[in-house]
Symmetry: C2
């Protein structure tokens, strides 16, 4: 039951190990009869090829890495990353790849993880979540010329292959939708300002306002950090400015903000309307169901894997980019359903 090698089963069948190798790898040029006997021996003995030996010989491992840098913070407090991971995992399953997960929890983690991902022979490619412009790990990984695709537009997109959603357009649509409902004092709760996601969504917000001839009021812009609690706190500041609607750059922040609104004794959407971003399950768990921008998170992960496979197989030049579309999902928090609909829930 153990430690069988190609050689062992070759002897068993009475052929050379290269023949066995051929059938294991489904190569042509093996007589049906021999193939059958080899297959039987493999089945009977429970032989499994040794991955390390194969990697060494072929120079690729069939493993790709997913790096979530420290700036992602408590990765899994926001449902976005679990979903993304799931999408990536499915993408790997589809293409017979193994996924290795590198969660950077601290500076020390970073030091320990770096050599592991830069070691040759271990990883065929890397999926790297972008975040702060100064994530050490992103800088360093660039030097080890390992095929990698960035998840989210990096600050310096030059020469980088990445995948992102069209955040500008998405935020534009969200804000525009609020404007269409008649709101004029539209606040926004952003993510951390040192990320491209935040900048892009802010840009979309500005564009929509500008397009409607509504001047931007800086007092209506509050910075959060994508988490529920940060949304709550941002909203507490915002309430004094009396917005009639809020565009939150994540569902989690929207939920936090809505909590603050409730506590202030105001009604949603009558007093303040809301639109979120992501469309994670949480969006439908609130008392007032959240209107939001749906990101194709699972598909995003799957596409990311495919993009990585592309550059692994066909070379990393030229840099490629994929921008995915989002979708407006109208529920109750934006007030669009107020008239003529019988609200309940």
């Amino acid at each position: 039951m153990a430690e069988l090698t190609l050689e062992d089963i070759a002897k068993l069948v009475g052929v050379h190990r290269s023949t066995v190798s051929r059938v294991v790898n489904g190569a042509p040029n093996v007589s049906p009869e021999v193939r059958k006997r080899v297959l039987k021996a493999i089945h009977d003995t429970g032989y499994h090829p040794n991955a390390a030996a194969r990697s060494l010989a072929t120079q690729h491992s069939g493993i790709i890495g997913l790096v979530l840098p420290q700036s992602v913070g408590s990765f899994f407090s926001d449902p976005y990353f679990p979903l993304l991971t799931q999408g990536i995992a499915f993408g790997c399953n589809n293409h017979d790849l193994t996924l290795s997960l590198f969660l950077v929890g601290s500076k020390e983690d970073e030091e320990k993880i770096l050599p592991r991902i830069s070691r040759r022979g271990m990883l065929d490619g890397l999926l790297i979540q972008t975040g702060h412009p100064d994530d050490l790990i992103i800088q360093r990984v660039k030097k080890f010329s390992i095929p990698s695709v960035l998840l989210g537009r990096p600050f310096d997109s030059e020469g980088n292959t990445y995948i992102d959603v069209d955040n500008v357009q998405a935020a534009f649509n969200a804000t525009r939708h609020l404007i269409d409902q008649g709101y004029r004092r539209i606040a926004t709760i952003t993510g951390n300002h040192d990320s491209t996601v935040t900048l892009d969504r802010l840009e979309g917000y500005h564009k929509a306002l500008g397009g409607a001839g509504i001047p931007v009021d800086e007092a209506l812009v509050a910075e959060g950090s994508f988490t529920e609690i940060s949304g709550y706190q941002a909203m507490q500041k915002l309430i004094a400015t009396r917005p009639d609607a809020v565009f939150a750059a994540s569902d989690s922040m929207a939920v936090g903000a809505m909590r603050a609104v409730h506590e202030a004794g105001l009604r949603i959407p009558e007093d303040i309307a809301f639109i979120g971003f992501d469309d994670v399950p949480l969006a439908t768990l609130t008392k007032i169901k959240l209107t939001t921008i749906r990101q194709p998170i699972l598909k995003f992960g799957i596409k990311a894997v495919e993009l990585l496979i592309d550059i692994i197989e066909n070379g990393t030049k030229p840099a490629r980019r994929i921008i995915m579309d989002t979708e407006l999902v109208i529920r109750d928090s934006c007030g669009a359903n107020l008239i003529g609909a019988n609200q309940n829930g």
Copy 2:
């Protein structure tokens, strides 16, 4: 910048590759002077050892796998698994291991994943989440004598190394706490009945009731599946039985159930008190903050990694088990804070 081998840097320094190997691996028996020169060369060239070659030579890879079987369902709809994964990832970081993630999404995935985890030379050990008694993957993995620890007590614990929390005691404490508040018609929303977690928590519930001389009323037991929506549905059935308190076997289900109670126009905890299980962030995001049983999820993951390391290094026999304690976290949903406290939020 590429494809450097031990040999290359050996030549550079003018020593034999075995000497370089020694300094790379921090072996003794290298003169300080030579060690310094080698280190410098390594640094200057940016050499990184090849993982595949090393794995082949040493017969271990420094990679462990985490298998989440299909029955876990949409792993990441319940915050439990993300947190667990995070704990495991940190455990790996602490011990310089790489974590590979195997998410089984479908029967086909199972077929594709199995050969990958049973391949020798790839994985030093396996962490396997238990679930349904008939998870194909668990059965099959047992045959490939790879060191593995089960996450959660399996139905057949014979000879298996596993780690679990004391679910019976935890559920007992939860139910007991409800009894202590004076409730007598205590309902429970369980997880799927074909899992040991569910059975254990049910047992604790029964024990507490029995200990207080309260007869078990089967009408007060509703089966869910750990998800929010299943809690919501279970509660809809339960409401007719007029419970005065509910013990939900997960926070997600508790939240769903509380939603159903609200929709029925009943108050929490005045009309129906609640206690959940897990203590995930969600528990404090509800209008009425959830009293719950805190599982040490992160620690659980870290401990699991350490247990796996133990059996990798010291042999898998005898089977080991670790049972961790839980903690009752009293918030607002159980009514314990009702008297004399000024509730807000």
